[in-house]
Symmetry: C2
Subunit: 235 residues, 2 copies
DNA sequence: GTCTATAAGATGATAGAC
DNA sequence: GTCTATCATCTTATAGAC
């Protein structure tokens, strides 16, 4: 229905229960449409702020169908969260690997951070509305106590560990604690940017746009690289 | 009930409708107890994840009383959010003013940022559980689309503008866009830290603790100051 | 696969007694 | 101030027809 999400790579389809529909609604995949609508609504109102009736209405189906595909409301949410996590993880690991292979011991903090944040901001900018919604959802989950932290850990820790491994090569004398704190600040900067809340636009009275993700990427790499170096007493 | 919130300054009491209770429950201020419980629950589950019945039960009163004091559920939420915002804004403006008065044109980026984040992390560390809940709540609201951004703007913009004004004095040649982007990254770092989600603890396998706010303050000032300088091409 | 019908309970809010 | 009682609505979820 709105999944024009085929820019950097190609999406997966880990549907809640089945894979192939065949008839009925004129579009290709009903489960996918449900996920798109759920993604949109969850990203705007959070898990508790959305009812499965709203999702069903937006998707043009009955609530019973959501239960058929995803079991429970939580099952629907998890399916939404998982769908793009795989794509994101693959692209980010690939970007970090490629960067290391290219530069070897010529790597810089800027380069590592750019490889880490690049795929995210790329999808957010060019992946269509679905990806924008997904990024906003991740931004919210990251700020949700207890289960939000656990969810982020479960899905995204490997990429973060890979990034930190590269950063250790760039700054061999860095203390471990400093690296972790610096990562936390980068994480906050990235997830807030993924929210595109429009706060920056209002604050700067239109001078900056939250949606200008090329600028965000450049500025964030510069800001965070300097931050890493300072905190880790390097350069 | 749990408001041992008298460390840096003293709290205000902008109760929803009345000021003075007189009899009934053995504690001093019923409305304040309701606010404490609502603050706790909202900070853990978000606005939609909490029912006024739960708040009433935790506070040991009937739901009708919540409506008596705060009108609607949204009214209750706003009262929670406003209660400590005044205290926070006063302290932060004061800290920035004091820093400028002390240092004049000897100010540094580190110093400005420390004055900006100091009062927040101070309350979070030493203000008791109520302040911890409040900080986690702000962290979530900051990541909430549309109304979250508007809420943050409404309550906290003056402090931010004051901080940016001082930063302009420290770095007179900085471009405005760069200042705003740098602020956004600092904001993300600060609000994520205010969440104390425990994510850092898990990621670092216990090496760093989210609740170690003295370290957070020191590292954040160092990280963000270097970031500001780099992005604004100064120093 | 998709829908109708409905169970079984929770929700925000109000009127009015004390 | 505080509670009891209640309304009208909405909630997730399931059974079963087509």
């Amino acid at each position: 229905m709105q999944t024009n999400d085929t820019e950097p790579k190609s999406a997966k389809r880990p549907a809640g229960r089945r894979g192939r529909p065949s008839k009925g609604s004129r579009n290709g995949d009903t489960a996918e449409t449900i996920l798109d609508m759920a993604e949109d609504l969850f990203s705007k109102h959070g898990f508790h702020g959305v009812t499965i009736r709203e999702v069903a209405r937006e998707a043009g189906v009955d609530t019973a169908l959501l239960h058929y595909y995803f079991g429970t409301k939580k099952g629907l949410f998890d399916a939404v969260f998982l769908r793009r996590a795989d794509v994101l993880n693959r692209d980010r690991l690939e970007a970090l690997d490629r960067y290391e292979a290219e530069k070897g011991d010529q790597m810089t903090a800027e380069g590592v951070i750019d490889a880490f944040i690049g795929p995210v901001l790329e999808w957010q900018a060019k992946g269509g509305p679905g990806w924008k919604h997904y990024c906003a959802l991740v931004s919210q989950v990251n700020a949700t106590p207890v289960w939000g932290g656990e969810t982020m850990t479960r899905y995204f820790d490997p990429v973060i560990r890979r990034m930190l491994a590269l950063m250790r090569k760039v700054m061999p004398a860095a203390r471990e604690e400093d690296l972790y704190w610096a990562y936390q600040f980068l994480s906050g900067a990235l997830t807030l940017t993924m929210g595109e809340t429009g706060r920056l636009d209002r604050l700067s009275e239109g001078l900056c746009r939250s949606g200008d993700l090329d600028t965000a990427r450049r500025e964030m790499a510069c800001f965070a690289a300097a931050g890493f170096r300072a905190v880790c007493k390097q350069g």
